[in-house]
């Protein structure tokens, strides 16, 4: 009897261990199904849309205020067409269905093709050979604001991003030139033609990389204040319109003589000399760390196509590059989205929120299926510092380069910029800012390509958006 049972204890130990491993595997499988699968299947390599589309009428994409931005219409013969009622106004953020899906169309393809309608109703539909209604994707987009931005940008190339600072909700996102997603199949050849310099398919708001110009001085000022918490208020610079730093000549815009400046007025007047001077005192590696906290060179973890913004200053960079970089020239490249995130983080007392454009997904009866919640990237800078820089950005409007934004129903804080991008001095016009300055509800980032100065081209757009958002 003993001989018979020899080794049974070991067999049982093995069995329990193996059963435990299987339990883990089954647990992992359940976890995959319940949590991860929704995101996994939403991949352009998954070709099951057509299979799902046989049973489900693809859902609508609507703006936060209920305007239909994309819907599927079925003709009498049962053919489905995806229709975009506002043509090219939302083409980049909402995206397209034809010629490889993009934007929300791509990212929410499977939720749109899934029906959470009443199961009995669904069963009834299938039994009658009818399709069930797919879920509706409700975006964070504000139709009126989007329209205002779209109009204000006019025929210029460029991009506009508007975020809600406390949540990261994308209120508006415009990129121009735009294209008509209704006609993308017919127009495809023209859109992708090499000689076509419009690059209308590119979402400039998230993928366009521009030199930040003077808008970058906000970060330089933050770094200076962090390095000199007790003495930055005593900073003084005598601007003569032009200055030389070990042979590197720095001119102010139009060689304007700004006179005696402290940090606040240097930012307000966007004095290049003063910032070059500040730059020579900065600890480059700390500065680099700050920019990386603001997500330069980093993944943004946003759910749309984007490019990483680049900050490439190192301890080995020469003085010329240093002085150029601190005032927003040099090799730094930024997307309008990233610049909007910087403005929104300052507006949100130093806490950066991840931008997102889908508020929730609901079924045909309006019941919420998936809710997307704000996600924080953490406190990037201290709250007190954020408040101080906020005040300084208010001065840009009250006494500096953005004075044309005065007289709105609320106070605005911001920073203009003109980013030179070729040797002839042609520049992109920039504006980043937020309003109301004391309790920000909206942060914007605007770039107008090759237009000139920010105050001339970007500010009127900002003004129209603020007017639309807060009422005249």
């Amino acid at each position: 009897m003993k001989e018979k049972q020899r080794g049974n204890r070991q067999i049982l130990i093995l069995t329990y261990s193996i059963s435990f491993v299987f339990l883990c595997m089954a647990g992992y499988f359940v976890y995959f199904m319940a949590v991860k699968s929704q995101k996994v299947i939403n991949n352009p390599y998954n070709k099951r849309q057509e299979v799902l589309a046989k049973k489900v009428q693809k859902g609508k994409i609507v703006s936060a205020d209920g305007k239909v931005l994309a819907k599927t219409v079925t003709d009498e013969e049962g053919n489905d067409t995806r229709v975009y009622p506002y043509n090219d106004m939302f083409c980049h953020i909402v995206g397209r269905e034809d010629n490889s899906m993009t934007g929300i169309e791509g990212r929410q393809c499977y939720p749109l093709l899934t029906s959470h309608a009443n199961p009995l109703k669904q069963l009834g539909n299938t039994l009658q050979g009818k399709k069930s209604p797919g879920d509706t994707v409700v975006t964070t987009l504000d139709y009126k604001l989007q329209e205002a931005a779209y109009r204000a940008l006019g025929n210029h190339k460029g991009a506009v991003v508007a975020l809600e600072p406390s949540t990261g909700k994308v209120l508006a996102m415009v990129s121009k030139p735009a294209y008509d997603p209704n006609r993308v199949k017919q127009d495809w050849e023209a859109l992708t033609n090499d000689s076509n310099e419009d690059s209308a398919l590119v979402n400039r708001a998230t993928q366009g990389l521009y030199p930040p110009g003077s808008t970058f001085k906000v970060l330089t000022a933050i770094e200076y204040m962090m390095e000199n918490p007790d003495t930055y208020q005593k900073f003084q610079y005598e601007c003569k319109g032009s200055d030389s730093f070990s042979g590197n000549i720095i001119n102010c815009y139009g060689k304007t003589v700004h006179g005696t400046l402290d940090l606040k007025s240097a930012l307000a007047k966007s004095c290049n000399g003063a910032f070059a001077k500040i730059g020579t005192t900065l600890d480059v590696s700390r500065f680099r760390k700050l920019t990386e906290k603001f997500l330069f060179n980093k993944e943004l973890s946003v759910d749309f196509e984007y490019n990483k913004s680049r900050f490439s200053l190192t301890e080995d960079s020469d003085l010329g590059e240093l002085t150029q970089t601190v005032m927003g020239q040099g090799k730094t490249m930024i997307t309008p989205l990233e610049n909007a995130m910087i403005a929104a983080a300052i507006a949100n007392k130093g806490e950066m929120m991840v931008p997102y454009a889908v508020e929730h997904v609901e079924n045909d009866a309006g019941q919420v299926v998936t809710q997307y919640n704000p996600e924080s990237k953490g406190q990037i800078i201290e709250e007190s510092l954020a408040k101080k820089i906020n005040k300084m950005m208010q001065a840009v409007v009250s006494e500096g380069t953005a004075h044309s934004l005065q007289g709105l129903p609320c106070t605005v804080a911001g920073k203009t910029g003109s980013a030179e991008f070729d040797s002839e001095g042609t520049s992109h016009a920039w504006f980043i800012g937020f309003a109301p300055a004391d309790k920000p509800k909206i942060a914007v980032s605007i770039v107008v390509e090759g237009a000139g100065t920010g105050s001339e081209y970007a500010l009127p757009i900002a003004r129209q958006m603020f007017e639309e958002y807060f009422g005249n």
């Binding site: 001989e3 018979k4 020899r6 080794g7 049974n8 204890r9 070991q10 067999i11 049982l12 093995l14 069995t15 193996i18 059963s19 491993v21 299987f22 883990c24 595997m25 089954a26 992992y28 499988f29 359940v30 995959f32 199904m33 991860k36 699968s37 929704q38 996994v40 299947i41 991949n43 390599y45 998954n46 070709k47 099951r48 299979v51 799902l52 499977y110 069963l123 299938t126 039994l127 009658q128 050979g129």
Partner: protein, 465 residues
């Protein structure tokens, strides 16, 4: 013919009233929930039948499991038929039904006292394989049926063979020589399939020697270690087992190499009752895995594909990504039989059949499938525990571990739980070698158990006298 056309044709055939169309959709749509429910009940019985001693009640449960299997088989075949109106499906169904029925009856007769649950599970798994293969490609199902039928026929004689030659445990080294020769044969007349050189073709039949050798490999280890478990013997056995594993590594058949290695460790541990061997074995295995990962690109590829299939979706990650798409899109209840896109998953009929099943029959069904496989393993272990002869005990354990470890590798691989190693799901996956060797494995365990019962009865009678 697709589903819509089939429905149209049915309506035409039975007159132009909607009732036929509606009835058609009801069968096709509602069936998937019924199938899941039936299979869940079946799985429930797999684990609960042991509670309670009433033999009559147990028999009733086993018969109910049989009925459930026939019901699922019928429903699945009906759906496949209604969606295509292809009469070949009806013929195939009848042939499969005859097979299941005959094997069920004959085995109950030949394998007296054997575990009915193991038999039920074996038939259930074969049936699921038949249905899925028939859905993917009819010719697969036909061939699978032929192989299964032939093997089951041979299986009827296995208890007899075991009884006649009960000196099985005397040929330890003979098994090893035979096994190594068969494995090494692929270097001479081998053929590469999916990067692994582990196939040979004899008279037009392609087969995988490692599938057959794995049975006599267990015989070899069990025979060696049943006799003596001193250090010298362990060393010799380990060295010879190592040769097996190294040949498989050289063939790039990583899945088989892992199964062989782990099986050796398990038998060694039980034979010596020495946890140190197990620990040392795991240590050496881990070290070997790291070395393999450092030096072999085909190992690196598998690991990369596991870590991030999306990053290499065009290349190494393609299979796993497609598998996850299928499982994820299918959802908890599945797309319905014939409604998915398993053709998108590479080798959906063999290594990735679990994904195809999960896609069309649903994740609930797939979880039940995992549980049924685990139930088989537990039953095998139960037999190993009861075995009186040492050789039988170690063999039963070795085969049980071999079986469950293969299940772990394939399901873990296709769900991205572990890197994919490219092994089949026993009894379900398409493949002559795989299905033949697994049926034989089931038969040997059952046969040994039958023999064990008979021997014990004899001893009891003798002591009573």
């Amino acid at each position: 013919m697709d589903k819509k056309e089939a429905a149209k044709k049915l309506i035409e055939m039975f007159g132009s009233f909607d009732a036929v169309g509606v009835a058609h959709s009801i069968v096709v749509e509602v069936s998937k929930y019924v199938i899941i429910l039936l299979f869940a009940v079946y799985t429930w019985h797999c684990f609960t039948v042991f509670f309670g001693k009433n033999a009559e009640r147990k028999d009733m449960v086993y018969r109910r499991q049989n009925k459930i299997m026939y019901a699922i088989h019928f429903i699945c075949s009906l759906v496949l038929f209604l969606n295509s109106l292809d009469w070949k499906i009806a013929l195939l169904y009848l042939a499969q039904l005859a097979f299941l029925f005959f094997v069920n009856k004959a085995y109950l007769y030949v394998y007296k006292n054997a575990s009915k649950l193991i038999l039920n599970n074996m038939l259930m798994l074969l049936m699921i394989g038949f249905v899925m293969l028939g859905r993917i490609k009819q010719s697969f199902a036909v061939r699978q049926l032929v192989f299964a039928a032939a093997t089951c026929l041979v299986g009827l004689f296995i208890p007899l063979i075991i009884e006649k030659f009960h000196s099985f445990d005397r040929f330890g080294k003979v098994y090893a020589v035979l096994g190594i020769c068969m494995l090494a044969l692929v270097f001479v007349i081998g053929k590469s399939v999916y990067g692994a050189k582990n196939w040979i073709v004899i008279a037009g039949f392609a087969m995988q020697p490692s599938e057959f050798v794995k049975i006599i490999y267990v015989f070899f280890i069990a025979a060696m270690l049943a006799r003596a478990s001193d250090f010298r013997n362990v060393l010799v056995t380990g060295a010879i087992a190592g040769v097996h594993v190294l040949i498989l590594v050289a063939e790039k058949d990583l899945g088989a190499a892992l199964i062989y290695y782990f099986t050796f460790l398990a038998i060694l541990y039980v034979a010596t009752r020495q946890p140190l061997y197990l620990a040392a074995g795991f240590g050496a295995g881990t070290a070997a895995a790291i070395v393999a990962w450092k030096f072999f690109t085909h190992v690196q590829k598998r690991v990369t594909a596991w870590q991030d299939p999306w990053g290499s979706i065009d290349d190494a990650g393609y299979q796993v990504a497609q598998s996850l798409f299928a499982i994820g899109t299918g959802g908890w209840f599945g797309m319905g039989l014939g409604e998915g896109l398993p053709s998108r998953i590479p080798v959906a009929e063999s290594d990735f059949i679990f994904s195809a099943i999960s896609e069309e029959l649903g994740a609930f069904f797939a979880i039940c499938l995992i549980l049924v496989e685990v139930s088989c393993f537990i039953l095998f272990i139960n037999i190993a525990l009861k075995m009186a002869r040492r050789f039988y005990k170690l063999t039963a354990l070795g085969l049980a571990v071999e079986y469950i470890f293969q299940v772990f590798l394939t399901i873990g691989g296709v769900t991205k739980f572990i890197p994919s190693t490219g092994v089949t799901l026993p009894l379900v996956s398409y493949g002559g070698s795989s299905v033949i060797s697994t049926i034989i494995l089931f038969c040997i365990i059952q046969g040994m158990y039958v023999l064990n019962c008979r021997e014990e009865e004899k001893i009891e009678r003798e002591t009573a006298r």
